[in-house]
Symmetry: C2
Subunit: 322 residues, 2 copies
């Protein structure tokens, strides 16, 4: 069955929450979308693909899926300090199911409205359920939070609590969502998995106020911090006891397992950034309220990542062998 592409787009995706919030964009309905930038802007772009059975379980709530698919992409913009601009959607579906599409579109629109990011184009095709979103944001020309700017002595910070998504994974694989979880702790963890918070405002503030490097933690703190170290050609020491763990994760799994997930678990979409030692990190109240930011270590001139207390090397593989 061929999807009636034009009707599908009109019915489910050309709606207020998803229509572009920008006046200078020509959206859905021509061969290409058109967009302009201000002379002092550049564009940051990121693409993420989610595949059923690989990145989310079968029969996943489509509303959660729509929210999450956009959230993980917006998180890449946050990591560069970019302001969300617009996105495109490549949606491959086994069949055209109106209830599924309405719910998926609701989830997308909910988060798109928050960040004023409009859907400007895409493609819908028939096949195994796959969601590809490319999001783009604006940055002042010549500026971005890159991975390669960390310098010896910088302090290392993370936002939020780590490991929650990894803690939710067994429930996710059983097909559970925040609403049908068995305990409050599990509901909280599932909420963190399905509705991660793209740290957009924090990323922009960090760019404007002099953070030296940043990325979003999608594959676990140890591995992702490793990308900053490699790109910046520096090392780091990490204070394991400072790595922020939620009381829900600790309550459910105990402190040792919670710490392991916080260091190696994926899908948190929190920011990890470096900040000059000589400069106090003084977040404005609005950001303090929304972002739990913790110093977890320091950039060093040695190579690789070590435990600040023992001096032992840390790697995602090594830690998982504990």
């Amino acid at each position: 069955m061929a999807l009636g592409e034009f009707d599908l787009i009109r019915n489910f995706f050309d709606r207020p929450g998803l229509r572009s919030h920008l006046n200078d964009v020509v959206g859905i309905g021509d061969d290409c979308a058109l967009l302009s930038l201000q002379p002092n802007q550049q564009l940051a772009q990121s693409l993420d693909t989610l595949v059923e059975g690989v990145h989310f379980p079968q029969k996943c709530d489509p509303c959660l899926l729509g929210y999450r698919a956009l959230a993980v992409n917006l998180s890449d913009l946050a990591a560069m300090g970019a302001k969300p601009h617009s996105f495109t959607l490549g949606l491959t579906l086994p069949d055209s199911n109106d209830i599924w599409l309405q719910s998926f579109s609701d989830g997308l629109a909910e988060l798109a409205s928050v960040h004023q990011v409009g859907l400007i184009g895409g493609d819908t095709t028939r096949g195994p359920l796959t969601i590809s979103i490319q999001v783009q944001g604006t940055l002042p020309k010549g500026q971005a939070l890159r991975r390669n700017g960390a310098r010896v002595g910088d302090l290392i910070y993370v936002s939020g609590y780590l490991g929650d998504s990894a803690g939710a994974l067994p429930d996710v694989l059983r097909g559970e969502g925040p609403k049908n979880a068995r305990t409050n702790e599990q509901s909280y963890l599932l909420e963190r998995y399905y509705r991660p918070t793209p740290r957009i405002a924090l990323g922009q503030w960090l760019l404007e106020n002099g953070a030296t490097a940043a990325l979003d933690i999608s594959d676990g703190l140890l591995g992702d911090l490793g990308h900053i170290l490699k790109a910046s050609q520096v090392g780091a020491e990490l204070k394991l006891s400072s790595v922020p763990v939620s009381k829900e994760l600790e309550g459910l799994l105990g402190s040792e397992k919670a710490r392991e997930l916080a260091l190696t678990g994926g899908d948190d979409y929190e920011l990890c950034f470096t900040w000059p030692d000589q400069k106090k990190l003084q977040l404005p109240d609005s950001l303090l309220a929304d972002n739990h930011v913790t110093c977890v270590g320091r950039i060093t001139s040695s190579s690789g990542l070590v435990d600040a207390e023992t001096g032992q090397p840390l790697s995602p593989q090594a830690y998982q062998h504990f």
Copy 2:
């Protein structure tokens, strides 16, 4: 099995033919790609997804697939009159097969080099074979070949020969490629299917010289011309005997069937454009040599599309019932 994403990108896609040809792009290796525009430019973007078993057969030659996936996307830029700038690749693969990846990357790089369009980012995931390409090009600010600009009296032109891809389809579904075709005619048709020609230079010339509307023919001339008529709120008469058909298609299928495929068959990726009646279409020699351009009809004030000779209504559905 998880694909080793970083190695995969480095090994197969970070190579001369695909590296961005632009100095103002930060490509593969950070959270986002960054790009800038000149102050007088806007960006045109288009996304197409190809799914194995839906848009191409199983065990399809990956080199042809790489070429075709980029070609169908570049065709959307051609239809807007845009100059190719860069592209991103979302590649979902059942497993990490080096021979497949090398060949796919070869096909991509061959066409990318021709149009100087660089791969600036993407995502590789595990799952059923799916290729999502988003291509972007530049246009002078405020200008584009839209679908809604056709005016009563305009002449309607198409590039190339139509129906060839539809004529190749039975062979495509049997898993044949241009190199193992049984006859020269079939080899020609398969070449047109797998290696369509994005009419980039023609599109840019049409924009600069005053074409009133354009699109690329992906779903058949009758249906796609219908999009121009609807967007422009006009009608058209089509001279069926003028619709260009290759001698190979006619030789293989006879003139009646060839004509039917030329009007309703998809996947040609030729341009259909409208041109002011009072202005002679005088293509420069360089474009004349590469693009076979034919006048096939005229825009009218009536509604819908009719046969210029009989006055009978034409629709993709009606014609296929002949």
